[in-house]
Structures are given as C-alpha cells and as structure tokens.
Symmetry: D2
C-alpha cells in the first residue's frame, strides 16, 4: 500500500522468527504480521534492529521482505530496513527491497567508519536518488554512534530527501526541538516523525510526534494501538495509563542474566520468548552469536505477560 504522507500511527519493527536451525521461519513471520494487522497497526517495519537485521545474511533478508510484503497484502504499508555501513552497500539492499515490493526504506547514517554531517546528508541524498522510494532516516546512536543533527534532518525534510524520521535516540528533548522546528517551517504536515522510544510514546504524541515504532509492539501491538487512539482522541490520562502498563511489561527485557549475556540479547530474546509463549511463533531462537535466555529468564518473561494481562 502506498505510504501516506505523513505516515501516522503504530508501526512495529517486526521481530524475525527463526527456526532452531537458524533459518528464517516464514510461517511464523507471516503469522506475526497477521496478528499485527488484526490489532490495527498502521504499518510494519521489517529488518530493523528488533528484526535482527544486523544478524541476517542477504539471503535471509530477502526472504523476510518477501514474506512480510506478501503477508501484509497491501493492508498496511511495509517499511524495509536497508541497514548497512555506507551508501553503496545500502543501495544494494534498497534494490532488493524495491523488487520485493516494499513501500518505503529506512536507512541509518553511515557506521563503522567515522563520518561527518556533510557526508551523512550526501548519504541520504544518494540513497533517495538511487532507490526511488520514500526514505526514512533511522536515528539510532546506540548502534551507529552518531546522532543525526537536527539541522541535517530539517534540511533533508525541506528538500524532500526524507519522508520521515524514526527517532531511536532516546533524546526526547532533542525530539521536541525538532518537532517545534518542523512546525515553524510548515513541514509537520508532510514529514513523519516516529519515535522509537517505546516507554514515552504518550509524551511524544503530546509533543506532536506522528507515531511510534515500538519494539515491544511485537508483544502487545493492541496495547500500542489503544495508546495511540487514546492520544489522538485527547484522552491523555488513558494514554498514560496504557503507557504505564506497557512500561511495566517492558521489564521483560531485563530477564536475561546481566553477568552472562548482553542487554540486546536479553531484550530480543525476551520479545521472542513472549511471542513463543503467546503462540505466535514456533521457536524463540535468536540469531548467533546471541546468548539464549535460560529457563529462569523465560519464567520472568511469562510473569510479565501474566501481569500485563496478556497470558
């Protein structure tokens, strides 16, 4: 489905179900998409950080995109992550995404290499020119180790390079300044600002953000849809209560033993364990070399689901 401008609403970054063999489990992925659409989400984002894009081969990435586009059946737009170190490599992914029928691309700033704002802007311009699909910038300093400067985003919003921003910086003050600046320039009616901070969605929407890309939305898409609908209806206390419930649910991401595994493995493992416990996916495996959750951690995840009323 063609991308609305600006894109609004809940756009979960899809987890990528894997079989025990490590192969992409297309059936489970399609089931997850179906559950999302049934919950009322406004789009899906494949091959983001929650989708373990950094762990998947090019072959696996292509399977994911084809599966998601097919499963979405044009009911919601499909955003495709084209995450790689620099421009030429991103463009290779973009070609695959276009062929697979994605509706928009999501690219980060260059990483691994050290970069500069002038290069970051040129990077996005080259991707936009080369790929001919609406392009979202993915601001995720925890992964790429630079923050997109507000001036760069404004420049690329004004000249049409970017259709929107997924802000996973966690810097909500900076986000507020961006939203105010976009409004001053009349760009907020076309440029979409989606927060990736799943714990402050009520505040981001109050500040004027257009939507949210919540990793936790894999587990509870309906919760985020309720939160979004309450917010757009001006029922802010209801939105805040829903966000509080989701924030409590988010504690599952700490389930993994801090001494024995990384926080990313713990969070992605928890989302997948939850999807498995909920019967959405067949196998909770994460990609190598991530450490798997142990039984204690899975019990913690289960308790979070029960406490949140999901199980």
């Amino acid at each position: 489905m063609p991308l609305p401008a600006p894109l609004r609403g809940v756009v979960p970054p899809l987890c990528t179900p894997l079989a025990a063999s490590g192969d992409v489990d297309a059936g489970s992925l399609a089931a997850s998409v179906e559950r999302m659409v049934a919950a009322g989400v406004h789009g899906v984002f494949a091959l983001g950080s929650s989708g373990e894009a950094a762990y998947l081969t090019d072959g696996q990435r292509a399977i994911v995109l084809e599966t998601v586009v097919t499963a979405a059946r044009g009911r919601v737009p499909v955003l495709a992550g084209v995450i790689d170190t620099t421009t030429a490599r991103v463009l290779d992914h973009a070609r695959v995404a276009v062929e697979a029928g994605a509706d928009a691309l999501v690219a980060t700033a260059p990483f691994y290499t050290r970069t500069h704002p002038v290069e970051v802007a040129d990077h996005f311009r080259r991707i936009r020119a080369g790929a001919r699909l609406p392009l979202f910038a993915y601001d995720i300093p925890s992964a790429v180790h630079t923050k997109l400067p507000r001036a760069t985003v404004l420049e690329l919003a004004a000249d049409g390079t970017l259709a929107g921003l997924k802000d996973s910086s966690g810097e909500d003050g900076s986000l507020r300044r961006l939203l105010v600046s976009l409004r001053e320039r009349g760009l907020d009616a076309s440029f979409s600002v989606l927060t990736g901070s799943e714990l402050t969605v009520d505040g981001a929407l109050l500040a004027g953000a257009h939507g949210v890309v919540p990793g936790l939305g894999n587990v509870d898409p309906a919760g985020y849809v309720r939160l979004y609908e309450a917010a757009t209806a001006g029922r802010w206390s209801t939105a805040a209560r829903e966000q509080d419930r989701l924030a409590a649910l988010f504690s599952m991401t700490d389930a993994g033993d801090e001494a024995a595994m990384g926080r990313s493995s713990s969070a992605l493992g928890a989302f997948k364990a939850a999807l498995h416990l909920l019967g959405v996916i067949d196998c909770p495996a994460t990609a190598a070399p991530q450490v798997a959750l142990d039984d204690t951690a899975v019990r913690t995840v289960k308790e979070s689901l029960v406490a949140a009323g999901l199980l």
Copy 2:
C-alpha cells in the same frame, strides 16, 4: 521553609549573577529570587549546574546560599547544591549549606574518579548520615559521566536515604521505568522525582513526575508555572502548547558561535544575557574561563525573548 514530601512543582536552578569583577552580585541574585517567588515557583535550587557551581570558589558558594536563603524568606524551600568530586568534599559543602539555612541538599554521584554502583550508594548514605537534611540525588551524566542505576535510586528511596531525584539525564524512557517502579513500591507518595529536562516537562508530568528543575526557568519562571498548573489540572493540550513556546525560547542556548565557544558557555551566557535584557540582573558576565557571548549572539537572545512575548 521545611521541604514538603514529596516536593512538587517548579524549582528553577538559579543562575548566579556575577559582577564584571567576577564577584557574586548578591543584589541581582536576590532580585532574581524575588521574581521567581512572584512567578509562583515552588522552590529554588541554588548552586546547580545552571548556577555555575563548578566555577565558584567555596567563598562565593557561601555567599550565594546566604543570599538565596535570605531572599526566599521562608516562602519557598531552598535546595542547595553540594557538588564536589567525592564524599568528604561534599560533606564540607553540606556543613556550609546547613549553617546557611538550606532546606535540602542536592548531590551528584562521585565524579573525576571512576566509580561503581556500590560506591555510589555508600556515597549518598554517608552524605545523608553526615548532613541531616533531606537529600536529592542529582543524576547528570553529561557532567559526572555515569548514570544513576534505577536499582540504586529505588534502594535509596526505599531506605529513606533520598528524598528525591533531580533527573538531568535526558533519558525519559529510563525515567518512566523509575516512576512505574516507585508506584509499584508505594514510594511515589513520599519520594519526589523532578525532571531537569526542560523541553519535555509536559510528558514527564503526564508520566507522573512531581515537578521540574528547568534551567530555562531562570528566564521564564511564569511560563513553567503555567505549564505545571495546566498539567496538574489535566489540561494537557494547554500544557503542550506552553511547552512548545518554551522549547522555541530554548533555542537561545545556541546563540553562541559553535566554532568559537562551548555549548555550555553558550547556554549559560544566553540565560544571563536574557536576564540582563529583562532587567533582572545588572551584568550578564559568566565565570572564567567561559567565553562571553558576542553582540550577534546577544541580538539572537533578544529576538528569542521578543518571539516568546517576554520583551
């Protein structure tokens, strides 16, 4: 005035007016306090980062505290920053603050030295035991280069070491998780969470924060009081509009030339230039070795004040 538990509302971190000589300008400081009280603030915080505490000698710090306590005349509580590298040095400042009549202390985690959560907890416990005044933890990773772990804050809230937290981490997702955890433990009725993120106050209050310590509140205390009052009355759209106006005003902090001076000098210089333009303080000087704003920058500050309806 004794500290309410929990402290709620707007508690600006007072700028410290200096004469051209570098001496503390006690008259201007008292005038600024008077203006704050008239605007309806709920407390004042002396010797924070906005107060250039890191730039003031012990002698100057003592003058600041005496001046502020005298000027407040018991109408609002006075929180005193006792910022120093580690416990023993903080306790020396705490003794001065107690003698000056401060109502509460605000201390950071140890800095300069590398530290550990166990040491951070012990640090706050020793300050609390040694100083016998309500104690706020000041979470400011941009200055101390560690983030207060949520578990540590919860532990120190539960055992009575801390009366509250000033969260200047800018990590609003982490703040949300803390607020939810405090509520789960029944601690939100006694422990005060104040955000130091002056651009997301509406969202923080929606999330259940008790108040705000806004550096920009030096320039527009009445604006933050209006924002707080709208939020507590549930008029969230009004609160958001006020926050938007304040976020636009905040752009003054970028007035200084980025190539020629630091961002901290630019922000503190802008606040003082604004207070000078508004007739509140006699001289806009910041402490050495900060670079002063040039005429172009001061014009930018002036334009911000005009645009915000303050001049």
Copy 3:
C-alpha cells in the same frame, strides 16, 4: 603463500584505488601490491578500514580480493578482511575470501548491535569453524565501539581459534599486558600480535609485538620495512628516528579542512592523494559519501611527501 606462524613483519592494509566512476581500479591496486612486495613487506591486508571495506559492495570486495591474490603471486601472504556486523554475514564474506585464495581472515567483533564478551568469543569460534583459514581478530574500538577484552584474546589464542591479533585500539598499555600474558603462557611463539598504531611501532616492537599493519605503509612501505629491520637488529635509535620521520609524514592525515569533512575522509583521502602524487595509482578518489580533499589539502599532502624525502 601459507601463513607463517606467527606472522611477523610489515603487513600494510591496502588502500583500494577507485576510478572516478567509483569502480575498483584493479590495475592501480595491482601496482600498489607490486610496489609493496618490492619494498619488502611481509604480507598484505586487503579490505581493512584503510581499504574502505565498509564502503565497498560485495561485488567490489570480491574484485579486490581476486586482484590482490593474483598480484601477490604467492610471494607474500594475503590477509582478507571479512568485516561485517555479525557472524552469519561475516561467514558469507569468508566463503568469498576462501574461494579467492586468501591466506588468512581478519574479523572484528560484532558491531551495530550491542554485544557481550561471551558472544564475542562465540562469534570468533564460529567464524574459525566455518571458514577453515587462520583467523586474526581485528581490535578496532573506534569502529566497533567495544574493546576486545584481554581475557577473551588469551582464551582464543590458547584454544587455537585465533592465529593473531591486529590491535588498532591505540591502547599500548593494554597491548603490553597482553604481550606479557602471552609470553607467560608460552603463546608468543605461535600467536601473532600486530599493532595497527602506525606511530608507535618502535615501542610496540620493543615490547615484543610481532609486526605492524600501518595505514601509512600504503604511502611509505619501505620506511616501515626499514623501521622493522632496525628494530629486529636491535638498532633502536635508528628505529626511533625512522618512526619519527614517519610520524611527521603522518601529519598529512590532517590535510582536510576540519570544519568541512570528517577525520576519516581526510586520512583516507590523504593516503590516496599521496599514492596519486607518487604515481602509484591513477585516481585519488575515495568512495561516496566521503568528502574529497580540495586543492589546498592536496598541496599539504605534497609538502609532507617532499619533507619526508618521498617526492
């Protein structure tokens, strides 16, 4: 040529010459390899950071490896960078490198994703098991944003996972502790430690390092060979003087205007400008979106070459 164990000597990380079109210039690359071999280097490293690996598509990477292996003609071992975000993607590159006839692989820790020492160790073990070529760990925190823990390197050296380490961390104190620990365990006779810090090679060799992977060796391979030979002969003052000359030459990496381009673009642009001025490569272009050196910068590079006696 099969990899000696331990690999010793000067192993330059080859720049990848590009045509103005952006295509790999295989002729210039072969010429650069020939010049290296003539200068007496002990190996070449293709597709490292200096080789702009992060900027090259998979297709370009394959061309580079085939060109280098062909040009080396078995006279020196060819190390192949297999830089990518995580294990499965690295293994895809490793298969290409094996087919191209590389003699060893060089892989970093996972990046983009956050990781953990247990996962890092598993990552290298899986690459070693999957690729069946000697494997070097590439410790480059400026790119991957974690430092390889000494304990992990020792563990992977002891169990035969790693044949060596390329240490581009710049932490020479940490390198010293590693070298002492390897000697205590009798591993220094088989495990190769190569420093990537091109400005402290004399000190690293004095400390027992087996060799060096100098980016600046693209410009002056003979200088690094002289430095290495002086050091192995115990002529330390001569080694230091050569290092001083090379450190002065290294100032070319600052040629690019700091306000207008990144430091990485400046350094890689300077190496390529130097190779172009020296007549080794046909075109000084760097990959998009890197900013190109302007004429002033190229003049600075030229002056460095003249001052170092290379032009």
Copy 4:
C-alpha cells in the same frame, strides 16, 4: 628544590596513606617519600589521581603538601596537584600549594562542566598568571572526559604558560606526534613531557619523552629508576625487560572483585595493600566511598609482590 627545565626522570604520583579513621597518616606519607628519594626518583607528585586528591578535603590536601615538602627536604622537586573543576577553584588550591612550598603545579582541564579548547587554553593561562609557579598540564581524559588538543599544548608550550605535560591519556600515538612537533619547534629542550602510562615507559622514552609519572612507582620506585637509567644509557632491551617485569607486577591492580567494586578502587587499594605489605605504610585504607580489598584480593597483591621479587 627549583624545578629543572625540562624536568626529566621518574616522578611518582604519591599515594596518600590514611589511618583507619580516614585521617591523613603523615608519618607513613613521609616514610613513603623517604623511600622514593632513596630509590633515586627525580621528583615527587603529590595530590594526583593516585594520591586520591579527588577524595581529600581541602584540610587534608594541605596536610599532604606540607608533609611532602618537609619530607622531600629540597632533595627532589615537589609537584603539587591542584585538581578542581574550574579556574577559580584551582587558583584557591594553587595559593595553598605556593604557601606549602611546592615547586610546581599540576592542573587538569576544566571538568564537570563541558568545555572548549579556547576555554581550556584560557584556564591554563589564568592559573599560570595567578600562581607564579611552573605549571604542568595533566591530560587525563578518563577523569576529565576531554583530551587536551595537541595544538593547545603546543601553543601553551610556546608561549611559556606550561612547563610540561603529564600525559595520562594512554594515547601513545598522539604523544608521538606531540614529541615530533615539539622538536620541530625547538621546544623539547625546555618543555617536559612525562608519560603517565606506566606500562609503556620504554617506548615513550624511546620516542623522546622526558620522564614518567608512574602510579605503580609507589610500589616499586627502584624498578622505574632502573628502567629510566637503562633507557637513557641506550640499553633498550634491558629497559624493555624491566618494563615487562613491571607490567606483570601491574596485574595487582585487577585484584579486586570486578563484580563488587570499581577498577579505580581496585587499583588504588592494591597499591596501598602493597605498600602495607612492604612495611612502608601503617594502614592500607582507601578513602570513602571506595570499596576495600578483601582478603583474597590482598593475597593476590602479595603474590604479585613475590613474583616481582619485592617480597
């Protein structure tokens, strides 16, 4: 004793012995100084990071300086750390140091506050002008979170603001470039570069550094004097062997349990435990809130001393 220009040799940063009460143990401190002088050190540095300066009150700092100056009896120069957040506070410490009879001052860049190279240069110029003693810049990014730019050091060396640099950045490549630049400008004959990287002293001296400020020199000052003398005599292999022995001894700094205490507490605790085991100081206590070494850790320290031939 007046400071030689340039200062050369071994200048240990003195640990500050404390009694169990937390008070400075002046007797043990004097004994440590006496042992240093007997070992042939070329100066002593009081109130550095190894001296727990950040943990000591102003009263304690004054006692330390008076004790050290008295104990040194003019046989070696006494450098006094004047570590504090910004200029005015540093100048207060400088006045005390001048009165106590220190021979030189050692100051860091501003910390806690964010700063800028222009401000850093002004900071050092104001300290030099205000204190009238030779001034060393203390480059310690792990504590102050900025690195002194090479251009700033060169500027302040050329105009006479600085008498030298203590480089605790661990960036030996950057140090090499500085040394080459100083020599190009003829400044190496007056400006003293002392490395604080105690594990790469042989390499630093080979590169032209004038001396070393080794924390581990508290434990084995004679070892560092032997290393320095071998290096100045051109016996580089001997120097490297001595450095290797000291690097092995340095492993004591990891004695403390990583899960239960910080790395700084572990290192300072190990130095003091060693001094206690060697009979130099009466009590191994470190300042609050540092976690103390447990018995297992103290045994590890003892084994290190035995292995190094010191016990």
